[in-house]
């Protein structure tokens, strides 16, 4: 067999290995119910329950933050994160968690939040501007 064909086969083999490794390591988007039924970690999308307590007390533990999130199916669950409370967490519109269920708590290893940011939304803030009307 020619060396170039051997190399071709090796290349294809590695490519397939890459695809398989990707397939086995991709996570899935799920709900809290799914999280209860699976062992590994997964992504859960939802939004913050603003009625319930956001707990972060740096004096007691600077690495413990907990809150309640409602997933897309409407189920609510307590979420625990080992770290500080992300800035402006209260204003988040959507949260993506990566983590797993431990008992009745969802332990997030990663939190990503989407904020209504001025950098993505065009809203002219008239209130601020009109306060200065006097100097026209």
């Amino acid at each position: 067999m020619k060396k170039s064909s051997i190399l071709g086969l090796v290349t294809i083999a590695v490519a397939i290995a890459v695809i398989i490794s990707l397939y086995s390591s991709t996570s899935t988007y799920g709900t809290f119910v799914d999280a209860k039924n699976t062992n590994g970690s997964l992504h859960v999308i939802g939004h913050l329950d603003k009625q319930k307590e956001l707990y972060y007390d740096a004096a007691k533990d600077a690495n413990y933050f907990s809150f309640y999130m409602t997933d897309k199916k409407g189920n609510e669950c307590k979420v625990v994160f080992s770290g500080t409370k992300p800035q402006d967490f209260e204003r988040s519109e959507q949260i993506v968690l990566v983590g797993e269920m431990r008992g009745n708590e969802f332990h997030a290893s990663h939190i990503q939040m989407k904020c209504p940011s001025k950098y993505t939304q065009d809203k002219v803030e008239v209130t601020e501007a009109s306060a200065k009307k006097a100097d026209i």
Binding site: K2, K3, S4, L7, T11, V14, A15, V18, I19, S21, L22, S25, T26, S27, T28, Y29, G40, S41, L42, H43, I45, Y56, A58, A59, D61, A62, N63, Y64, V80, S82, G83, T84, K85, Q87, D88, R91, Q94, V96, V98, G99, E100, H107, S109, H110, Q112, K114, C115, S117, K118, Y119, T120, D122, K123, V124, V126, A129, S130, K132, K133, I136
Partner: protein
Amino acid sequence: MNTVFKGEHLLPGHLGQIFVIISFGAALLSAISYYFATTNTDKLDKSWLKMGRIAFYLNGASILGIGTCLFYVIYNHYFEYHYAWAYTSRELPVYYIIAGFWNGQEGGFLLWAFWQAVLGLVLIRRAKSWEQPVMTVVSLSQVLLASMLLGIEVFGMRLGSSPFLLLRDAVEGPIFSNPDYLSFIKDGQGMNPLLQNYWMVIHPPVLFLGLASVAIPFAYAIAGLWQKRYKEWVNPAISYSLFGAMILGVGVIMGSLWAYESLNFGGFWAWDPVENASIFPWLTLVAGLHVLIVFKNTGHAYVTATILILLSFILVLYESFLARSGVLGEASVHAFTDLGMFWQLVIFILIFLALSIWVLVARWKELPITKKDEDTYSREFWMFVGAIFLGLSCFHLVLVTSIPVWNAMFGTKLAPPAESVTHYNVVQGSFAVVIALLTGFTQFLKYKKTDVTRFFITTLLYFVFAALITALVVYTTGLYKLRFVFQLVMLTSIYSILVNAKVLSDSFKGKFKLAGSAVAHIGFGLMLVGALIAAGTRKVISVNDKGIGIANFSKAGDERENVMIYKNEPTKMGDYTITYLGDSVSQPNHYYKVNYKRYDKGGKLTEEFLLKPNVQINPQMGLTPSPDTKHYLFHDLYTHITALPPIKEKPATEEAAMHGEQNDDANYDAPITHEVAPGDTIRFREGYMVLKALNKDAKVQNIPIAAGDIAIGAKLEVVAHGKTYEAEPVYMIKKNSAFDFARKIEDVGLKLRFSKVLPEKNKVEITVYQQPESKRPWIVMSALDFPYINFLWSGTIIMVIGFLMSLSRRNKELKTT
């Protein structure tokens, strides 16, 4: 509605829009003219060529025109323009106004088009017989870039997005029915605080120059196949690929240095989709460059070389699509949102993809494909293998990064790997092992044919030597705690550095031609070593074992890296004793002074320095922290703020504090009264104080002392945390009523009142208010140690030097041939 709006400056916008249209038209004319100049059979007829050049100059000039108009609009704060309003504000200093220029997507395209025009001018001067076909392709790319700025409705579809869009056209709002709306818009929204950094001024221009320069080897490849000059295009393409790979590499590493120096994700590389996308074209371009050299030397691997070069530019376009189309959605923190150009970006890619496939298919039968097999012990064979692995590494990155694209295309709901950083590290680390190994032993092989026994002996010798060094490095840095694959990366990188150092030393004895590649490979090896040790053995200095805790937390959050420290309370953290000293404000940054002290075993102070991590407070973005780093030669100490108490806009003045006396007391624990005589000591939680003396003519600001009034001050010396403070609370009898004026020592969280005089006991009463811990100023910070990170940065510089050396060699060869 024909409202006449007051105070708008429409001229620069109209002028700019005219330039936008001219730049598009001129690029189109240039592409068509160059096309006919290429296909024209009459060699003496230069009219098409002339027209192509003039049109290209016109395109370049109008790009400058667009830039000037846009700058004029931004510089003069004409907030009637959406671009100026959205990305700048009045308080931005001039250099950020320049950066504001490429803050938006339109500015990015403009910068890209500008560099491509500059490179086009270089080609017009240097390309000689290649000018017509190469410039046809470059102009075509210029047409598509210009179309991104058009902002015109064509057949109901908006084509491009103009930087001169008016605010009232971009944004809906009742305010715009007022002809005088501009007087309400006093300021722009300003730049994203994360971008207000000097890197924002220099990083984008370098990166876009890199992206633009990938188009040149692509244009040569298309031109070579189109004009059936199959072998000739390779030489100039090698030069331009070297240039492109160098600039693009620098641009990417600059981005990573930026992230490390001033963003808050705690590292230099996060495998974010947009970051990954920026190295797609670099990987294929470097691979293509190597295979081009293989082809040049042996005539093998023509198709692979061509495909890699073509693919690099396609990946540049794909990168732009990923970052700008909004397809990444929640997968990336720094993707742009869709400006409605999703399909335009897709068409951009498809045009160049179709062009690439078409030239390959149309010319397939004529391509110089060799049927002869390559020699196993030849350098070119292993260079080729290395290039294939670079390509595979890129394939993996594209595959994983594009998960949101697959979801959009096939309607699947895959999520990126949960432990995505580990996933990328392990897979890309495995590719790095193979690639570093190949950059090593391939150097011992000769082009075409090698003495086999000698090759094995030298290879093995160097390998043993590298293994010894690696064992030492792995042991001292603690790399052995990591997965085995990372130790292999270390081994092969060190091996590659050693071998290439040998090649470099040989090159001084005569084979100077190889010096460039040796230097570049040494740089690459050092980058791998630096990145590996810094990321792999990153240590958390601020380990926090206090707290309610969560036992066995899932891996990522296991480090407990945040510590809370109170103001002026020295805290032990690793080898250091840290003290939060206070803050200073330089709008819009709040700096938090953290003092680091290190003692030797005998308790002697060996080192002391101050770090000032800062936080930007932005009404729309909230708080954005930015780290501060103490750089040592062999490691970096990186500190950043992770949580803060709510920041008061203005500290209460003394008067205000007096008025709100009742409220103010609520900020303290229940007061404790002490009856003391001069010389007595009062103890409190944080230290002690001594009543030094009583001052019979104490003064209180703004309160005149009339005859018969009495004002006594209690001179107190307060010692806390090794510091001494003075305070003098005052007791006053004015018109037969008693008053007292408390004094505060904010640093210690104390309020002291001189509350009574007890003449019968010859004592006075001092009331001590102490702030509860929770009311004391505090910060939560995290401190990380990045060992040997300077190898990463210095490796980059060395690699650039290597690229420059190779570039000068290839350019000399170009001139002689």
